[in-house]
Every structure is written in C-alpha cells, then in structure tokens.
Symmetry: C2
C-alpha cells in the first residue's frame, strides 16, 4: 500500500523528518529545503525585513522575490541530487557485473534520495543495462528500512531481491552467495571512518573475514573533513521502544531495557572503496574533492 502525503508547512516537514517518515541523508536535505519554501509561502507578501527575520539570505527584493529564489534553489538541490545519484551509479557500475549477488543494508535507494539512490544506484544502472542482478536485502532492525523500503523499491523496479534477517548475512557469505556488499553512508570522516545505520560495522567485519568486497556509497558531500576519525562521532541512541515493539505491538515483556543505537561507525580499513559522485575514492579525504 502506498500513501502519499502533502507536507505543506515547515513544521509538517520537520515532523516527518523527526519521525523518519522522510529519511535518507540526501532526501532529508531536499525535504528541508522544500520545507523552508513551503513554510514561508505565506510571507511572500511581506516586506523584505519581515521575510528575512525568518529566512536570512543574500537575495535582493521583497518577500515574493526571495520566496521564488528559495523555491528555485530547493528545486535545484533536488535536480543536483538526481544527477549526483546517477554519477554514483556510473562510478559503481563496474562493481555489479552480470550475475552479481549484492548484499545491502538499510535503505540507500530511490526512497532515500531525489534520484536512484546511492548504494542502490549501481544496481539500478546495472539492471537498466540488462545485467542480471540479485540483491540480498537485510531487513535492518529495528526500524526495518530494508524490509519496508529497499525490498519495496527493488520489487517496484523489477530487480530480483531476497529479504533476509540481518543475522543471516554471515552464513550467506560463508556459502559464497554474496559477491559484493554495498551500503550507504551518513557521514565520512577525513580518515575514511564512516557512520551508517546500526549493523553496518558488523557487516563490514563479516565481509572482511570472508574476502567479500565492501563498498560505502554516498555523495562526496557526505565527507566531513573536520572529523578526523570515527572516534569523535558520538553514537546517538534512539527510543528503546523501537526495539521492544514492532509496528506498535510489543515483542518483549514490559519493562525490559533495550539498547537502540541509531548507527555505528565502520573504520576505514574495512572499506574496499568509497563510491561517490567524484569516482571510487580512497582516504585520506580533505575539503578538496578528487578531480
């Protein structure tokens, strides 16, 4: 079942981001820009000072002109993202040869971006080119982005996939059923350590142990050279009831404490390469993108 919702205020967009209804780093950026546009529509008739009291920009003109400028900017961000996804896909295409079995975690696909995704972009392009591809989709507990989103969009695109419990990745690698692991990224440090959905690190260890190439895919803008390494990233904890309930129903006895790390950090040494819109790259990363 698909449900479409129009988010017509900045508050509605902010709420949707907070509750993971809009998720995926690129899509959050796009939605935030669009949310700012939606949220200031009423100020179009305002004087320049009144408008800027809410949205500080360097745009000349009155409220209407500034709003139009913001609208154009948000649309440009979206279009830029679509092009970025496609470039990630092109750079990652050689990693997904005909017959490849890819394993992915969480959702770094079309439902997380304005385009064809990041981790899934090479898969979409390989499929577009007629290559046979099959994807093992980690269900990605606790929020089940793999089961709910990745499986949905791959099925929608006609790309064969198999949903698995997260804990089945190890035995599949041991059985040599996984040719390559491609995951998304939340943030990449200067030394290449990167944050991504909880479970990514364990998957990286398993891939290393079994000699399976492990790729982290994301826009170059995910690189934050101000972060020296992963040690400086505090791991956010989300509400315990995401673990103790599923779709609102309890799966554990009342009062059992649960740990709900939102993400983990994977050290650079586990990563075969970073698949970015600037190519397959290797750390150390600086503010200057590779040419």
């Amino acid at each position: 079942m698909q449900i479409e919702r129009d988010l017509e205020s900045a508050e509605a967009v902010a709420d949707a981001i907070r509750h993971l209804e809009v998720r995926g780093a690129p899509l959050i950026g796009i939605a935030a820009a669009m949310g700012l546009v939606a949220g200031t529509r009423e100020l179009r008739g305002a004087a320049r000072e009144a408008y800027l009291a809410r949205v500080a920009t360097a745009t000349p003109g009155d409220g209407s002109a500034i709003w139009e400028r913001l609208h154009a900017e948000a649309t440009a961000i979206w279009e830029e993202d679509r092009a970025m996804c496609r470039r990630i896909g092109e750079h990652g295409l050689p990693l997904v040869p005909d017959g490849a079995n890819v394993l992915t975690h969480c959702n770094a696909g079309a439902l997380a971006t304005g385009g064809i995704g990041t981790a899934l972009a090479p898969i979409y392009l390989a499929h577009e080119q007629g290559r046979k591809v099959h994807v093992y989709v980690d269900e990605t507990r606790p929020v089940l982005q793999g089961a709910r989103l990745t499986a949905w969009e791959l099925k929608h695109a006609g790309i064969p996939c198999t949903l698995i419990p997260d804990s089945a990745a190890g035995v599949l690698m041991r059985q040599a059923k996984v040719d390559v692991v491609i995951v998304g990224v939340d943030r990449i440090c200067a030394n290449g350590d990167f944050a991504n959905k909880i479970g990514t690190y364990g998957l990286a260890v398993l891939a290393r142990h079994h000699g399976v190439p492990f790729y982290a895919a994301g826009p170059w803008s995910s690189v934050d050279p101000s972060l020296a390494d992963g040690e400086v990233i505090p791991i956010e904890q989300r509400a315990a009831d995401e673990v103790t309930t599923i779709a609102g129903r309890p799966i554990a006895p009342p009062g059992v404490p649960a740990l709900n790390y939102a993400f983990d950090v994977t050290p650079a040494r586990y990563v075969t390469a970073y698949v970015t819109d600037r190519g397959l790259v290797q750390p150390p990363f600086t503010a200057d993108p590779p040419s």
Copy 2:
C-alpha cells in the same frame, strides 16, 4: 502476559513442537516423552498387545503397567535434564566472573529445558552466588526467541539484561562491552562444528575478530559423533512468512521473497570451548564422553 496450556494428547504436544510453542532441544525431548505418556493414557486398560501396537517397549505387564513405566521414564528424563543443566552451569561458572557482561543469542535457558537451561545455566548460578552479571540479549529474528523468551526469563529471575537488535552485537564488541559470548547448541559434530539458531555463526566470527571468548553450551548428548563435520548438515529452511511478518502483521511488501534459514553451522575453530555436563571439552568428540 503468561498463558499456561495443558497439552493432554500426543497430537497437542506434537503440534506445539511443530509450531515452536515448545522449543529448545532438551525441552522438546522432555515434551515428546511426556506427550507419549499423555497420548497413551487411554490405553492403560488395554491388553499388552494392543498397547504395544502403539508403543513398543520391553516393559512386561499390561497397559497400565507399561503406562506407569513410561510415565516414570518421562519424569526421569525431566529430572535428568534438570541435573544436567545444573552441571553445565557448574562447569561454566568460572566463565562468568563478578561484573561480567555476557552476550547470548536465541533462548537456551529455563524456557528451553527442564532446568536452568544450557547457555544461561552458568549465568543463573553466577547470579545465585551473588555475582553481578549483565546479559546482552540478541532479539533473534525472525522468531524473536531472545526478545520473547530470554528477556522474559532473565527479568523474571532478577538478572539485569538489555535487549539488542541482532545487528548491534558488532559495535558492542568493538566498544569492549561484551566479555564473553555463550550460546546454546542444536547438534555438535565429531570435529566440533555445531548447528544452532541462525545468526550464531556471524556472532562467532565477530567474537573471534574482537578477541571475545565464544562458548557453545549444551548437554553431552548434543554430540553426534556420526556427523564428521558441519558440511554434512543440510540447513533447513522454514516458512518465508516468519521473516515477512511479525506476530501476523506484514513488515514487507506482498510478494517479496525471503530466505529463512532455521539455523547455521559454526565451525569448531571459532569455539573457545564447549560447556557440557561433562565439563569444558574440546574436539574431536567420539561416542565416549570425557570422564
């Protein structure tokens, strides 16, 4: 919420085993024996031949005598299991020192046996002796035995525990928050390879990678010396809807294929030691138990 059900026929017991309402290798054995007793209660008045047509035994006497013998035997199996669990706990006790953080998978506790469990037995005894113990409980998708059973029984016993998504084990080990992993076993091969709940193998690889001791706990009777190694164990697949639904509610789009391995096989080289009622033992294993 606890619900007690009386299983008063062999069919009811068989159904309960089939649907994982009774699970855990030792408890299945006890229940099967009790089920045979329950299922032949009506035959107590039967002649010897009529009774033996259903239950072939070497017991002399009529239906009533044979039934009493079976009843005593089933009760003895239960009592033997209780004693066996306690011996496993005693042999494993040194692995759980004061302050230990133990990680376990699935349920190999009191709810899986007639006694205090296998993997959890050393934890129960350590707690009984006043040692501070804390247990990280893998929720154990897809059937959630960790969330539903292990968390329940540890809480019930007053042993501090924290429920985690299966995929969080890796980062916890990296953060040095896990001192020891103890899991149960379904079956142990002559060379020490063993079958256990899906996810056990990945956990063993993570433990090895992080230098965390990894113990497999079970009765000596889990050893099947007729199995040379894990390669000869075919991995059973259970129904896909255990993965695509939780408590009857879909968590994935309709028609998405899912892979549901019931268990995986962990090679002996990942196992620090086997915690059995005959002591901490090392392969190779033969039909003769260690003295």
